[in-house]
């Protein structure tokens, strides 16, 4: 799985570089290129593996993997803004608004979202119907019913100063990080025109495990390894899976969710080995 992940990282970076190369140049293009560097590329990996499980080749899936990483990069650039989570470090580098300005970060994020939808029109992906299914699903996952909805709820809770309970945090994270992970994990069936139900269940458990692992890293992680600030949530008195379940409880819940994600993959048999390995990687990572 690590070899495949390395390969996906290189391929998706090359695909994103090609998309940036044709832009006019200047500060906006520089900031977009910068925001597209690094990262674990777990969402791209999900796209490539779910495509593989549904008989979709790497060449067809690659623009979709690039699109989901462009969409993810836009969300990070905007979330890091002073008016939002106010982060100065991301992927081991100064955030876009620190390196350039708030205006450039807003515009680069805007253009990265546009780029994501543009990438999904690529005819290498497949027929027009397949591409439209992806575009409709990405709009659903990333907009006011999905990712942006979750982020708005997160900001509202922080502003109100009333910590959320477990059900509320689970629902919020289902939007903020879960919806895009679900899109990535179901890209294969969406392209092939197959039923995405099994991968939906896998993605829901994986997304939650991923978020719990993030909360654990915010407590136990090392900034030099994670490449982003740690200890922020506890410092802000924000409710997290760790503050609500305790550290051992959060770790146990993450392990339980990995079992759930495994069970969802049952019908795929041995061919889903990489997705099973990914679930374990997600809760054992130190970055």
């Amino acid at each position: 799985m690590q070899d495949r992940l390395e390969r996906v990282r290189a391929d998706v970076q090359a695909e994103l570089d090609r998309a940036i190369e044709v832009l006019p140049g200047g500060e906006l293009t520089d900031a977009m290129r910068y925001a597209l560097q690094g990262g674990k590329r777990l969402r791209a990996f999900l796209v490539m593996e779910s495509a593989h499980l549904h008989g979709v080749g790497d060449a067809a899936a690659l623009p979709v993997a690039a699109a989901v990483e462009a969409l993810h990069a836009y969300s990070l650039v905007h979330d890091d803004l002073p008016a939002m989570d106010d982060d100065d470090l991301r992927r081991g580098q100064p955030t876009v608004h620190v390196r350039w300005s708030d205006a450039t970060a807003i515009l680069a994020g805007d253009a990265l979202q546009t780029l994501a939808f543009g990438l999904l029109t690529d005819d290498r992906i497949g027929g027009a119907e397949a591409r439209l299914r992806l575009i409709a699903a990405l709009a659903q996952a990333s907009g006011a019913q999905g990712m942006v909805w979750g982020q708005a709820l997160d900001i509202a809770a922080e502003t109100a100063g009333t910590p959320l309970d477990l059900a509320q945090i689970t629902r919020l994270q289902g939007g903020k990080t879960g919806a895009l992970i679900r899109f990535a994990a179901t890209a294969g069936p969406l392209i092939a025109g197959d039923d995405p139900a099994l991968l939906d269940d896998y993605a829901d458990a994986l997304g939650l495990a991923f978020q719990i692992a993030d909360d654990i890293l915010d407590v136990t992680g090392d900034e030099a390894v994670t490449g982003k600030r740690v200890g922020k949530d506890a410092g802000a008195g924000k409710a997290t899976f760790v503050s609500l379940l305790g550290l051992p409880g959060a770790k146990a819940e993450a392990r339980r969710l990995v079992e759930v994600s495994d069970a969802a993959l049952c019908e795929y048999g041995a061919s889903a080995g990489n997705l099973r390995a990914l679930s374990r990687f997600v809760i054992e990572r130190d970055t």
Copy 2:
């Protein structure tokens, strides 16, 4: 033409209201609904008229008209932010960040962009290929090669404090306002699979005339009528078509561009009457 414009305004508002109604509610949805109120709806009108010229019915064109207005609304919400143009008044109302917060304005703009692409997947528009042509064209027009590129250039020029010359401003505005106007004006041929060349030429002249009229209104306009602050550009020492050509020169250039836009419509004959009337409206408006 005024009757048709009124009708388009009502229809596109109803279409946008339907798209907002299904959202989860809360501050984000409220801010999106607020940002979608009012406006001249010239871009929606361009979509409906260019559709009419290419045999595309109103029902098919309406989601496209709503999409272009959602995209336009996102760009206004983000452009008005303190980190960008810092405007407190828009369409006669406090801007979104003044009414709520910078965070809500960033997120509402983000979700309005997503909504625009989502609306273009609507199967009322036509076949899958037609919808993909629109999505690819909107991504091209609104991203890092079009609208956002123009806005980034505008901010960079303001930050540098070096006023642009006429060729630079014309190029900048071709991106900032021209690209989306061109998308709207060519939506009809894009849906029908026809050649958009004639409407491209019309839109380029119209877009420039529109921007010159905007610059004139910034000097001669009344805030109570325009619904946005006036005198900002002159106050900021910013180069505009008026500062470069003088008021009479700018008015003459706008009139000349209306003639150019008229000439581009020649082959459409009498059926392009509303588009001809629109060009005149664009330079004679007081709002």
